[in-house]
């Protein structure tokens, strides 16, 4: 049940999706992998939207060079763990939700446990190694993975629904080379908002998800487009062979 305070806080968005929609958000648990450029705007907006439980995982410390884009962290936070900084900001911006932070490096051995009973995983990572692990967990747990990636003024996003859409491995079988990528804060801000919107739509059951669609954004040209995607039946993660093996086990 929503409290009177919550009804007032969410009044303007409940004009869109009513008590039922707001209850759905309140009862949801979203796992946000990363409290950096993408994770900052995503966690802020999911917090103010009233997602009942947010788990934010990061292993890093706030650095001066993060502050052009990682808006969860302030100048005064330099040297603090990003999880501590994120927890403070998210609790301050919405004390009516539960914020859990975990200072950890996501790897294949702990990812299942970290994600726990979350209803969806937000990919706010900066590398494909961890993204592939999150993809595996999403497929195993049959929960969506909200993917985003950025470089410079350019970004991409898609929503992966296990058994229904191409998974991250189907779409990107091989990662791009590692690099110190250039970035200006507006790009993760923009792509993060696409991902956060996808989370809300998924939880509310409304609209049309970026399912089997890769959204690509060129900020320099202010041009967005999308590319149709399809599952790869031979995919090593979600392909038919893999699923058959899993069913036999």
């Amino acid at each position: 049940m929503l409290t009177e305070k919550e009804r007032e806080r969410y009044k303007r968005q409940m004009m869109l999706f009513g008590d039922e929609g707001q209850e759905r958000l309140k009862n949801a648990h979203i796992f946000i992998a990363g409290a950096g450029g993408l994770g900052s705007p995503i966690s802020f907006y999911l917090a103010v939207a009233g997602i009942g439980t947010l788990t934010v995982v990061d292993n890093d410390v706030v650095d001066q060079s993060n502050l052009n884009r990682q808006i969860l962290h302030y100048d005064r936070d330099i040297g603090l763990k990003k999880t501590a900084s994120a927890e403070e900001k998210l609790r301050a911006i919405n004390p009516d939700i539960t914020v859990k932070v975990i200072d950890a490096t996501i790897d294949a051995s702990n990812a299942h446990l970290l994600v726990g009973d979350a209803d969806g995983i937000v990919d706010a990572m900066d590398n494909f190694t961890t993204r592939y692990i999150l993809n595996d967990v999403a497929i195993d747990k049959n929960i969506p993975l909200f993917h985003g990636g950025i470089r410079g003024f350019y970004g991409q996003a898609t929503t992966i629904i296990p058994k229904k859409t191409a998974c991250l491995r189907c779409i990107f079988p091989h990662p791009p080379p590692k690099e110190m990528f250039p970035v200006v804060g507006v790009t993760p801000g923009f792509i993060g908002m696409v991902q956060a919107t996808e989370v809300l739509k998924y939880l509310l059951g409304s609209g049309e998800l970026l399912a089997n669609r890769l959204f690509i954004w060129d900020g320099l040209r202010a041009h967005a487009e999308e590319i149709a995607l399809e599952r790869n039946p031979q995919c090593e993660v979600c392909g038919d062979k893999h699923n058959t093996n899993r069913e036999m086990i």
């Binding site: 990363g34 950096g36 450029g37 993408l38 994770g39 990919d123 706010a124 990572m125 900066d126 590398n127 494909f128 985003g148 990636g149 950025i150 470089r151 410079g152 350019y154 970004g155 991409q156 779409i171 990107f172 079988p173 091989h174 990662p175 791009p176 080379p177 590692k178 690099e179 990528f181 970035v183 993760p188 690509i216 060129d218 040209r221 590319i227 149709a228 995607l229 399809e230």
Partner: protein, 92 residues
Amino acid sequence: MTVKVRFFARFRELFGGDIITDVPEGASFMGMIKEIAGMNREGYDAIFDDTGAFREFVILMKNGKRIDCANAVQTPVADGDEIAVFPPVAGG
């Protein structure tokens, strides 16, 4: 025949945006991209490896459909085709 080639992300920085190119009948996907990429050494090296094969992370699309890099040699292009060549972006 005329084909439109669209580069994205880092490839767009190296080649510019959309390239409209005239290609001979029977041209292959691979041959056409190599010819365009040959205009820019850094761009060529970003897309192709030392053996002249597409780097494995490169994503190729023809008229919105994915083309496997391994099949790019055999895949013909036709008048009016729209080709997209792009790398995934990894930052976050």
